[in-house]
């Protein structure tokens, strides 16, 4: 529902969508590996990027 809406908006605004990628983050004293989805993982950040017409790649890192 949420991601489908974002994808639709991204498509209409012709925002580039990165391919799925992995990132490593340090929490709980461990290195966690996260696969992101095509939209960049964290929906709220993607939402902001789309609204501001910013590139979507790495949206999760801005959370």
């Amino acid at each position: 529902m949420r991601h489908a809406l974002l994808a639709e908006i991204a498509s209409k605004r012709r925002v580039a969508i990165d391919e799925a990628q992995q990132q490593r983050v340090e929490y709980f004293g461990r290195t966690l590996v996260l696969q992101e989805d095509r939209l960049g993982g964290v929906a709220g950040s993607v939402w902001d990027c789309v609204r501001r017409r910013l590139p979507l790649g790495g949206a999760a890192s801005r959370c």
Partner: protein
Amino acid sequence: MMRHLESEAAGLAGRRVVELGAGTGLAGIGLALCGAHVALTDLPEHLALLRINAQLNHADSVLVAPLAWGDDLTAFRAAGGDAFCDGGTDLVLVSDCIYNLSYAPALLQALRQLRGAAVLFAFSERNRDGEERFMDSVRQYYAVRELPPQPQQPPNMHLQYWTPLPAS
């Protein structure tokens, strides 16, 4: 939220935690690795990503289950979520899930279905009037406490702890 959870993780070992709108599942996976019993939930089309991330991090105990806000818990129960229902959940994690406020009422409904559970709620300010209206609804059912900012927390980000009101 992640920095707060790091400080609380030891106390959550053995507790049941549900993450709503889990996305990549970062928070829930981290807590599972610290000993919490975790259910990662999102829409059915996003569960494959959650399963991948649980596997990548060897979080084998995590339950990945569908939970669409506004629906009843039938699909969640069928996927193994029974133990988290009927008061079985201690804490619900909700991170950055009200960027689109049109889904906020359904989110609140989903939270109330997991009755009895406290909520750790993180959001970034985007629409103050709309967010205030949402929080007015929340305060009908929960006591809301703003948690102190974590180091490097952006000023427009809020981290709150909601405790269910007795009658809710």
